[in-house]
Amino acid sequence: MAEMWINMGPQHPATHGLWDLRIKVDGDMILDADPQIGYIHRGIEKLGENRNYTQFIPLADRTGYASPMTWAILYVLTVEELMDIKVPPRATYIRTIAFELQRMASHLLFVYGMAENVGAMWPPLVYAYRERELLLDLFQILTGARFHFNYPRIGGVKWDIPQTFEAQTKKALDVIESKLKEYERMFDESEIFLMRTKGVAVLRKEDAIRMGVTGPTLRACGVKEDLRKSEPYMCYSDFDFGIPTGKNGDLYDRWVVRIAEIRESAKIVRQALDRIPGGAVATKVPAAVVKSVTVLDGETGYEDLCVIMAKVPKVIKPPPGEAYVRVEDSRGESAMYIISDGTERPYRIKIRSPIFCTLSALKYMMRGARVADVPPIMEGIDILLSEVDR
């Protein structure tokens, strides 16, 4: 058979994002893969040099649109390390709850994509979206938006959690956990799903570590590595949760790991809601808070603010220096490297995206697979072009 290079993209319903996947095929078998990215490169790193530190928070949200809360929290954590700010414990707990809810929403998006791509089409897709809508409603009462929240602030969070949040979250978590059992039955007892995912796109442990792969894809290969345990940030060391791993590094293991991670995230959120410092949830959404966010110390209304926001100056000017902070995002290790030169605009922002590194390992995953396996493989690494291209 003749070998040839085929282009899948940029507009293609199954490639999940705008990129050009060039694959070398021999008939139906894939021999090599050469992704071409850059179709949604907006130059966020350069735009960061043209914004001040607070103005970059919405851009950080839009770096990874399927889990914007995690990117915004990563950015404010990095600036806080630069400025050596101690965030109040209540704000840290609120951030952790938002982070884990975002992880669950992102993994439900993965379930939706996986269902669509292995051919399960409408029912599981709609069910996953139904559960994701519960989480988006939670975010709506917490932050006011369905996604692109602009919620974390340098020094804390924008406002306190409202009165109905705790009860609604617990109800949503109960519903999601019961539905997870339904998904597992639907997919684990389906012969088509097992045939399409077991043994497909196997990535060996050595290749994964060599290529810099992190996150659920690495854990599916059998490496028990999670930044929340190996280098705990925020308040993860206070919680009791497990790190699910796979055995073979194939597509099925990536599925299993992510479903298990939804359960572990739900555990963390429940523990955080029970132990959140500052006593009961605030009895009012303080309007004074929104007005006094830029208030310097000594003025009234600041005491309400202290639980969710550290004392930061009105104009953020970190001292000259640099910081590199890594977090365990839904897709792997995300990191930001910010260099400050003492002015109110960053000198350099460098964003490390987990999928960027996983995509460069694509050729190892695709060898031996068939063309029809390409969409599930793409969804299996939970691809998000926005953070690859930035």
Partner: protein, 164 residues
């Protein structure tokens, strides 16, 4: 103008008077949209279809541009993607419509001063409806769709002319 052309013109007007509403009714109640999810706004298609059920209005996504009449541009167009985007637009058969969804497609959005973004998709293709928001809520999207349906209702010379 001679008598034959005048008579044909009048006949066409009469036919249009009866045929236009029928064809426009058909077109606006079965809009097939192109699966062009560029960026974040594309995530709102899921709830658009799943929770708010766009299909009851006849709106359904299709993969190939040759099957579609609507292209929803959900995200910014970069210089790298612009030629391919024009090619996609040209592949769609007439009559076709474009909705610019989200601030990035309308004017560049939060990335307005980027070196790689075209500030507004209407610099490349003619746009019929602008749906603002970053991202627009699914209800806003539905409102945009209804406005498009109103536009199609008013279309004249339905079945034989091309163009909007």
């Amino acid at each position: 103008m001679d008598v034959t052309t005048l008579l044909i013109g009048k006949a066409r007007n009469v036919i249009d008077y009866f045929a236009d509403p029928v064809f426009n009714w058909g077109r606006r109640n079965s809009i097939w949209m192109l699966h062009l999810g560029i960026k974040c706004c594309a995530l709102e298609w899921g709830p658009f279809i799943a929770r708010f059920d766009a299909e009851r209005f006849g709106i359904g996504p299709r993969a190939s541009p040759r099957h579609c009449d609507l292209m929803i541009v959900a995200g910014p167009i970069t210089h790298k993607f612009a030629p391919k985007f024009k090619m996609l637009y040209e592949q769609m058969p007439e009559p076709k419509w474009v909705i610019a969804m989200g601030d990035c497609a309308i004017s560049g959005g939060p990335f307005f001063d980027s070196y790689n973004i075209i500030r507004g998709v209407d610099k490349l293709v003619p746009v019929d409806v602008y749906v603002p928001g970053c991202p627009p809520r699914p209800e806003t999207m539905l409102d945009g769709m209804f406005k498009l349906q109103e536009l199609i209702k008013k279309r004249k010379g339905g079945y034989y002319t091309c163009g909007p």
